[in-house]
Amino acid sequence: MRRQSRFEGWYTRLQFIAVICLGMLLAVSPVMAKTHEVAMTAMEKEVIIDGEGTTYKAWTFNGQVPGPAVRVTEGDTVKFTLTNPSSNTYPHSMDFHAAEIDFLKNYRAVNPGETISYTFVAKKPGVFFYHCGAPPMIQHIARGMFGAIIVDPANAKAWPKADREYVLIQSELFKNPDDVPAMFDRKFENVIFNGGVFKYHPFVTGGGKLDAKPGERVRIYFVNAGPNEFSAFHPIGEIWDNVYESGNPANKFTGVQTYVVGPGSGSTFDVVVESAGAYPLVTHSLTGALRGAIAVLVASPDAKPAPLMPMVPWDIPAKPAIAY
């Protein structure tokens, strides 16, 4: 009787330890990782590029510039499919900078009427560029085939919780979308955020703004699509509280005035706006800022929630077609 009860006692303790171990295992196990089906369609279509409704013959993912923001968590699997409809004229492809997979097999261009699929695990946290790599790649990016994928860290406590988040993608706009030599010669007409000239500049016709409340930690997932120019990203009237190179919480800088993001790269920027007012976010490469790359962050107590990429697509009436 005594032996039996001792055995029962050990059994109960073993059960308890097993439950704890299982719990710990589940907490760190990749079993928790999700699989995301991400489907995009290459669309050759006109998009609005400024507040006056000017249209541009773009090449896009899903009909918008930038393409949709993809968001997963570190360790998640992405099952990606790109469709190039037969109504298109050109081959297209997809290169995810968040993926670590064979380029030859996965990033090849597919002709109109074809589809390509591949799978990757988002192993490293950060904000990463994605883009079409079909030749000439400089033209496919210049015409709008790019976007951002955010890979959130598996450990959410790896960095402070953001109160508000935005995705900003810088790129160059060329007057003639067919003039590839001008793209090689860096003869851009505008430098833009999220596909529009002064899209978030309230002092410009049709311009909007980015909203925040005073005291909020605003997190900007920033990607420079290029194709050629570097960005010197700076908050006028503020200092970046933290900058995370490539958006990885392990790559942390503090108290940064201006941070350079090269073409094909990205970084995550945190700023806590201390008081109500306007804080323009610009590339301090001024030929870029004054030609379109200004986004005004307005801090106001009555700021409303906003999507990751406000005003994408830019939903205003197109003006009568003129050559651009």
């Binding site: 500049h201 323009p280 004054l290």
Partner: protein, 124 residues
């Protein structure tokens, strides 16, 4: 022969009309003007300021909400002058200086805006 000429003249006339309409549409492009408002009555007189600005010839939209302390105006570029717009803010009040408007100029003024500020827009 006469029918052909009539058709030709008709087509030509329609083309000219369409071109004129198109050119008018292009000329009537709007421009955003940012006025910074300062003075003790700017907040309480918002409604009156809005009405005064909306009555100005060429003013298509007035936004006093997006940016506190500013009036964002969409104006037909060739119809209203900046002086007219700024004086419209103050002149309707008994005490003219209770709310004063200035065209906002800063490091984020675009080249287009800088041009308008310095040269002004012509009166109608």
């Amino acid at each position: 022969m006469i029918r052909c000429s009539v058709r030709f003249v008709g087509s030509l006339a329609i083309g000219v009309i369409i071109s004129i309409l198109f050119i008018s549409a292009v000329e009537a492009a709007t421009q955003r003007v940012a006025l910074m408002l300062s003075g003790p009555s700017c907040e309480e007189d918002q409604k009156a300021i809005r009405q005064d600005l909306e009555m100005m010839h060429g003013v298509k939209a007035v936004d006093l909400r997006s940016l506190r302390g500013f009036a964002l105006l969409d104006v037909e570029a060739s119809t209203a002058s900046l002086d007219d717009l700024t004086s419209a803010v103050s002149r309707q009040h008994r005490e003219p200086r209770q709310c004063r408007a200035q065209v906002m100029e800063s490091c984020i003024s675009t080249p287009q805006h800088g041009l308008n500020v310095h040269h002004g827009m012509p009166n109608p």
